[in-house]
Structure formats: C-alpha cells, structure tokens
C-alpha cells in the first residue's frame, strides 16, 4: 500500500526547485559539517534540513524507515562515544555522582562532544539527502546527474539503487510475514538468530533473480547501445537558481576561509551542557 521509492509527490518550493540546487545544498552541508569539529554547526544544519524536510512533506519524516534509522544511528553515536571513546577523560558529574555503565565505565564530556558532533553530522547529511530524494522525481534526479557530467550508466545505477532499497524493504516484510505464518517465532533473541536463515535466503535469492531479470530487460531495450542520448525535456537553470548557487558557493568558501584561521573546536573545555554547544569564552 505504501509508495515505493523515496520520492513523495508534492508542490512545495523544494519539489519545484532544480535538482542541481538540492545537490548543491547537500554538498554545501556535507562540506561545512566536516570542516569544523564541533556539534553546534552540524546541529544547526540538521535542524535547518529537518525543517525543510517537514515543509516539503510532513508525514515522510515520521514514516520513512531511513529517517528512523538516522535517529537510531544518532543515539548510538551519542551513547557509544560518551562511554567508550578513548579521548574522553573528564567524567560527567550529575548531582555529585558519575553516570556509569558496567564494563564501559563512566560517561565523559569529551566523549559526549565527539558523539554529538558525529551524530549531528549524520543527521545533517541524512536529512539533506532525504530532502533531495524525497522531493526529486527519479527521472529528474538522473537527468540532473547527467547534466553534472556524471556518465549516464552511473546516474542510472545510482537511481536504481535508491529505488531498490525500498523494493527490498517491501520484499523483506512479505518474507517475514510468510515465515511467521509458518509458525516462525521471533520473540527471544535466540528465535531471531534462528530466523535469520529463513528470512535471509529468500531475500537474497529473490534480489538476485530480480536484478538478473532487470538487467535482461534493460539490455533487451538497448540500454547503453548509444553514447549520445537525446532528452525530451531540457533542464535549464534560471536566474534565481544561479543566485542561490552563488550564495551556496559563497557560504562554503567563507566557511573554508574561516576554517583556515581557526578550527572552532572546544572539546577540551567542555564541562557543561551549555558549553557542549557554545564555546565557554562566549
């Protein structure tokens, strides 16, 4: 019943924007979150991208399994780094005592700082990527990649991979239902381990069959026979798009320039939640 693929129909400003603008935004975010090592900049960009995603399609953020996986990754990074990152030295003290886990020791400010940085980087890039794929028709996405001089075969492969993720997800759900109908239990951990084979084998065999049939179908329709492809609809950048592009390039260059003069990293000075996001000297 659910739509396959990431694209969701809509008429928001992001749906109507040139896909190359969205790719440029994604690249800008990816560069900026990686040039500085602190949680604040990625957090701001993650929130901004999330707002854009909610604006373009409210339900997508709640329903999409990738969005849920991003949150799980984010929480794992926060917890994992806080407790086990070897750079962590200063324990977090709450009401006079440390927060500890058996075998992992206590939670450290430096670990939390690193965990938060990686978590928000993941969210920022994840949300901008979701914005791109959920508001861009697959055909337009492929066309944009070709316009950016990516060879057609690679563009097509990228597009197909994005679509197949959700197709495999749907198949996996059907297989789980089919095996549960044959009495397969999945309550305990041991049940889940035992269930791997009955779930994994049909999924892999089915996926291989599907890919084989798809490749034959593509070849039988002359895929890759001609190096020069004509286009039914010409994709052109307007004045607004050029202005946005210039703005994004400007911001990226400015950030790169700023990075050369200072690193905006205050990991060794974090001692409170406030100083986790705002440098203590502010």
């Amino acid at each position: 019943m659910a739509e396959t693929g990431f694209y969701r129909k809509g008429n928001s400003v992001f749906h109507n924007a040139d896909p190359r603008m969205k790719i440029a935004w994604m690249l800008t975010v990816s560069i900026i979150v990686y040039i500085f090592f602190n949680p604040t900049i990625p957090l701001i960009l993650a929130v901004l991208s999330l707002l854009m995603l909610v604006w373009s399609n409210k339900k997508f953020v709640i329903q999409n399994p990738v969005a849920k996986a991003l949150l799980i990754g984010c929480v794992s990074s926060l917890i994992g780094h806080s407790f086990v990152n070897p750079q962590g030295v200063t324990p977090i003290i709450v009401f006079g005592s440390t927060i500890s886990l058996p075998f992992f020791g206590s939670m450290k400010w430096e670990g939390l700082y690193i965990g938060a940085t990686w978590a928000f980087r993941l969210l920022a890039i994840g949300y901008t990527s979701l914005l791109l794929v959920s508001t861009t028709r697959p055909r337009d996405f492929m066309e944009a990649l070709v316009k950016l001089k990516v060879p057609f075969r690679f563009s097509f492969m990228a597009l197909l991979s994005l679509q197949l993720i959700q197709v495999f997800d749907r198949d996996a759900r059907i297989i789980v239902d089919a095996q549960r109908s044959r009495g397969l239990k999945d309550v305990k951990i041991t049940d889940k381990i035992k269930a791997l084979l009955p779930l994994f084998t049909p999924l892999v065999v089915g996926s291989l069959e599907r890919i084989q049939i798809m490749s034959m179908s593509l070849e039988s329709r002359a895929f890759g026979a001609s190096t020069k492809r004509t286009e039914l609809r010409e994709m052109k950048l307007g004045t607004k798009s050029y202005l946005i592009l210039a703005l994004l390039i400007g911001i990226t260059v400015m950030m790169l320039g700023y990075r050369l003069t200072g690193d905006l990293n205050w990991m060794d000075r974090v001692r409170s939640l406030q100083s986790l996001f705002i440098p203590p000297e502010f």
Binding site: A2, I174, D177, A178, S181, R182, G183, P198
Partner: protein, 274 residues
C-alpha cells in the same frame, strides 16, 4: 458452524488509506470460499486478519469462536495456514523435504511426528519423488505445490491460498485444483483469493465479491457469474467465458447458469437428444 467470524472490521493503513470498511463475514467450517475483486479492493488485507498478520483498526476477528486480538501469528498458524502468492517469499531450504518439515518443527512437534507429517504431505500432494530436490530447481507449478504442502503439513483447519494460480500453465492450475479438492475432502476450510474466474467456477462453493473495502456480493458462483453482471462490472472482472457464452445463448432458451465446459457439453448433449 463458523470457523472464522469477522465483525465490523475496519483496517486503515498508515497514510490514512482505508482498505476495509466495516466488513462482516462468516466462513463455515469445511467450505471452499473464493474472495474476488479488483486490485486494491481489500481481499488480501481481509485475509491477513485471519492469522493475525494484520490487526483490526476497528472491529474484531474470531477464529474457532475466540477473539484473536491477543494471539500471536505463530500461535494462530496452527489453526490458520497462509500460503503466499509467490513461493519465492516462503521457500528457503535446500530440499523439498526440509521445507515441508519447517512448519511442523516450529509448532513444537516431535521428530517422529514431523517425519510422519512430511511423508503424509508429500504423498498427499503427489510430490514424494521430489523430496530430495532443491525447491528452486522445480517448475513454478511444483514450487507452488511445495509451498502449499509446507503449510498443509502443520495441519491447519483453515488454509488461505493467496493467488494460487498466478503464473501457472493449465497443468499447474489443474494440480492446484486437485490439491484444493483433496484438502477440502479432508475437512479443511479453504479460502482462496484469485482473479482466475474459471478456477473459482470449478472449485469454490461460495464467492465473496469485494470492491473498495466492502463486500458487495456473497453468493454461490453460479448466481454470481450468471445473474450478477452488474456486480462483476463494478469489480472489472468477467465471468468464465463458458458462462458468458451460456448467457448469450439464453436468448435461445439455453440454460444460463453454466459454469464449466463439462456442464456446457451436458447441456448441448441434452438438447441434441431432445
């Protein structure tokens, strides 16, 4: 006595997609019921409630007189067997024998009982000679039989067959027809979802027609195919060609309630003798 009772069943998928709208249905024990309707009419959604794969948004489902809301799918699989449309989603073992043994082992039967059930199921469906074959090496028709046998071996009282004839040639369809007949003779209740009208005409005792999440007809195949053209039009389905021919010949006082080529031959022979 009804083995499955559905009371005012509603199912709404995420995204506010209403698949079932207050469906009421009773399925009698030992009957063969076909559920037909165009794609998206709610057939599969309805039957997925019978073994708990889907849970009602509103309303309730009773199996053997008990509300199944608190039962798990694996508990219900002892009573309601569900054979999926594509055997590829179900089969994973390296031999037919192991595939058929998978279900009985899951419900905790002893090894001896599992062996007996496997032998019985393989013989019942006439696939004993393939017991050591890899299921993926078999034809689609045989794979479907293996899938049915692998559920049948759990001895459920109800068998739900989702599109059992899709992608099968005439011989394959005949094999499934025989399997349905045999299971019914053993007292199993059969629920079939299909778009294959000749299969329905030959095998079903009752036809439930669905459209837009509601039941719009619930009659014998003879009545549905011969006298309910308006209902069928709503579902974009056509009666079997032989029934259509009989309906057209009814202008010449020919009986219109004909479902199979055999019945047509008998009617023609009767006329010639007169």
């Amino acid at each position: 006595m009804a083995i499955i009772e559905v009371e005012r069943l509603w199912h709404i998928y995420p995204g506010n997609i209403c698949a079932l709208r207050g469906v009421d249905l009773q399925i009698e024990e030992g009957s063969i019921v076909a559920i037909i309707g165009q794609n998206g009419s709610g057939k599969t959604t309805l039957v997925k409630h019978f073994n708990g794969l889907l849970r009602p948004t509103r309303g309730r489902v009773l199996v053997e007189g008990e509300d199944i809301s608190t039962k798990t799918v694996s508990q219900l699989s002892r009573t309601v067997g569900y054979v999926f449309q594509n055997p590829r989603h179900q089969l994973f073992c390296t031999s037919v024998e192991a595939e058929v043994a998978f279900g009985p082992r899951n419900i905790g039967l002893s090894e001896e009982e599992v062996k007996d059930r496997v032998t019985d199921a393989l013989e019942f469906f006439g696939i004993s000679k393939y017991r050591n074959e890899h299921p993926y090496s078999l034809s689609m028709g045989l794979r479907k039989l293996v899938a049915i046998a692998s559920v049948y071996s759990m001895h459920p009282r109800v068998m739900v067959l989702d599109e059992p004839t899709t992608g099968l040639d005439h011989i394959g369809v005949d094999r499934i027809s025989i399997a349905v007949e045999q299971m019914s003779k053993k007292g199993c209740t059969i629920v079939i979802i299909t778009h294959h009208m000749p299969f329905v005409a030959e095998n079903a005792e009752r036809v439930v027609v669905m459209a837009q999440g509601e039941i719009i007809a619930d009659e014998t195949p003879r009545k549905v195919f011969s006298n309910m053209n308006d209902v069928l039009k709503k579902t974009n389905l056509s009666p079997p060609q032989i029934t259509e021919l009989a309906c057209r010949l009814s202008e010449f006082r020919f009986p219109r309630e004909i479902l199979t080529p055999r019945e047509m031959c008998e009617a023609l022979a009767g006329r010639l003798i007169k």
